[in-house]
């Protein structure tokens, strides 16, 4: 293990390390803690410039309710859910199928096709912006929930396929081979042999794609106009204009926008990190 385990050091070093950990964490999360502290202050504190002192009143409940009653935040949150969930379901399902095809079958274009998915995953969004926006306007998908999740689903299919293909490739090929010898149909092999084995990959992808899509801001701006289809990320920016100098409300709204992906992360931490660090270990 590197660095040397601290248990083997002198007790003083160990105590020092353990005492320093919370301090380091405090500094690291200072911006976040500061904004949380702001979100529970009353308006009086903000106006009088009391940002770091002890709050004169605690308005946790009032502020967070105000965000919902004085703005379209509830609508934005609902939109985010309606965009994110179908994106996850569609992209992960398509990637299971495509990943299976690219990992199991040996055909000439398997590797080039795989690389196409990988490359598509890295391109800048801007190169897609004008055609996708134009296509959405033409098909009536502009400023709709469906217009957004269809795009996200298609784009995320690239990353999901990369992940799935590598995951399935690492499964023992004998399983498939023996099923074939038994005369099992191809799609039944997929459904009954492979799919149950890729469950961890599905879980990892689901949390990752959920976070990626939830946090999207660019496409929310490109593909929507009004309140009816805007997700919370674009909504928070709109609120920022609406609540000028009401920093306690802006803070509360920002933190609300961050809650679902954060909750996802803490609930599914193992899968989340497994997905994110794919390829970091040989």
């Amino acid at each position: 293990m590197f660095p040397r385990p601290i248990e083997k050091s002198a007790p003083a070093a160990r105590a020092g390390y353990q005492a320093f950990l919370p301090v380091a964490l405090f500094i690291w999360l200072l911006p976040l803690l500061a904004i949380f502290a702001t979100s529970i202050r009353g308006a009086a504190d903000i106006n009088s410039g009391n940002i770091f002192g002890w709050p004169t009143e605690f308005a946790l409940f009032e502020n967070y309710t105000a965000v919902f009653t004085q703005s379209a935040a509830a609508q934005y949150m609902l939109n985010s859910v309606l965009i994110t969930v179908p994106s996850v379901i569609i992209s992960v399902s398509l990637a299971c199928l495509a990943g299976y095809a690219l990992a199991i079958y040996k055909f000439k274009v398997a590797v080039p096709l795989f690389f196409l998915f990988v490359a598509g995953n890295f391109i800048p969004f801007q190169i897609l912006m004008v055609p996708v926006r134009d296509m959405s306007v033409q098909t009536g998908l502009y400023d709709t929930i469906a217009g957004q999740f269809l795009f996200h689903a298609a784009f995320q299919t690239g990353f999901c396929t990369l992940f799935m293909r590598n995951f399935i490739k690492a499964l023992p090929f004998d399983l498939i081979e023996s099923a074939r010898i038994e005369g099992v149909k191809e799609w039944r092999i997929f459904w009954y042999v492979v799919l149950p084995l890729v469950r961890p990959a599905i879980a990892a992808l689901a949390v990752l794609i959920f976070t990626f899509v939830w946090n999207d801001f660019f496409w929310a701006n490109v593909l929507t106009q009004g309140e009816s289809a805007k997700p919370i990320t674009a909504g928070v920016r709109a609120l920022n204009g609406q609540f000028v100098n009401n920093w306690h409300l802006v803070s509360a709204a920002s933190l609300l926008a961050a809650i679902p992906p954060v909750a996802m992360f803490f609930l599914m931490q193992k899968h989340f990190i497994a997905g994110l660090t794919l390829g970091a270990v040989k």
Partner: protein, 325 residues
């Protein structure tokens, strides 16, 4: 062919291994082609047109072919060069996330009680949307009531109460308004962007460190290696895959930077914080009407820059593929 019409079933059965993959691939491929692959080529071709996004009543596009004119205009566009220069600053400074992530990972790679909690809390900033990170830091930098402003007041300002009882501050130096300064704003945004990116690199390295071969470490330790030497000669070579991924995601992140700029400065003051990704959006969808052709030209330049990295990444993957075959 006659075989196919005579007995389709047997043809399918005999060729099932070459037909089946296409059934599995078709939906993903179709979807991906419509929304990703084809638009790339459409954008590149649009960059040779001038178009405001409108259609004639008969449904035909009003785009006009202008050849390389958009690119010529781009060459003379000072905003384009500022954006390109800022992209370079992002690329270089964003790379600090890799050593910083490694440093924090080394610091956290211990097994004292509660370590799991600390590791996930350090990773926290990555999970939050960049919009929220942008808002947090926008407020953090605020000279009047942000964290920077408050620290400044504590250091350089004196609080005085006038006869009417109003509190005023007398400052020996005015608090810096980082995001309104054309020289410093970009660095302010990059610094904010580093926060989640360091967290990402950290988690990559923590996973990597978890899998470092302990027998090699012990052997090197017996040979008297320790500290920097151990890190450089024994540990880092084993962390190569993690470093590779960290560099790739950091480069992509730097070139994709859009959200934080849109939130914190919208490219301003005077376009000084623009990067290609944001400038493209600004020219393509502006208040003065759409300029899809010009925007596509900016996007194409950004795409070509990215393509260098993508090609390198694919080439590396291809080498690995050949080995595993």
């Amino acid at each position: 062919m006659s075989d196919l019409s005579a007995n389709q079933d047997s043809w399918l059965t005999r060729n099932k291994l070459s037909v089946a993959p296409w059934f599995f691939l078709a939906p993903a491929l179709a979807f991906f082609a419509i929304y990703v692959v084809i638009p790339i080529f459409e954008s590149i071709s649009l960059s040779f047109y001038e178009w405001n996004g409108l259609y004639a009543p008969d449904g035909s596009s009003t785009a006009v072919w202008v050849g390389f004119q958009n690119y010529v205009k781009l060459w003379d566009d000072p905003n384009f060069w500022v954006s390109l220069k800022n992209n370079l600053a992002w690329l270089i400074l964003y790379m600090l996330a890799v050593p910083a992530g490694l440093f924090i990972a080394l610091f956290l790679n211990q097994t004292v009680p509660g370590m799991r909690f600390y590791k996930s809390m350090f990773f926290f900033p990555f999970v939050i949307s960049q919009v929220v990170v942008g808002l947090i830091f926008g407020w953090f930098y605020n000279p009047d009531f942000g964290v920077v402003g408050s620290i400044w007041k504590a250091l350089y300002c004196e609080e005085t109460t006038n006869i009417l009882g109003n509190v005023t501050f007398r400052c020996s130096r005015n608090a810096p308004d980082i995001l309104s300064s054309p020289e410093w704003a970009t660095y302010g945004i990059i610094f904010a962007g580093l926060w989640p990116q360091i967290a990402y690199c950290m988690i990559l390295y923590l996973t990597g460190l978890n899998n470092v071969a302990s027998d090699q470490i012990e052997a090197a330790r017996l040979d008297g290696a320790k500290g920097w030497k151990m890190l450089w000669y024994v540990v880092l070579p084993q962390l190569k895959p993690a470093t590779f991924i960290a560099v790739v995601v950091t480069v992509i992140g730097a070139l994709r930077s859009f959200d934080m700029i849109a939130i914190m400065t919208q490219g301003g003051p005077f376009g000084s914080t623009n990067v290609l990704a944001h400038y493209m959006y600004e020219v393509a969808i502006s208040e003065y009407g759409e300029r899809y052709g010009y925007g596509s030209a900016v996007a194409t330049v950004l795409f070509l820059i990215m393509l260098v990295y993508i090609s390198y990444f694919l080439w590396r993957m291809y080498q690995d593929e050949k080995v595993s075959r």
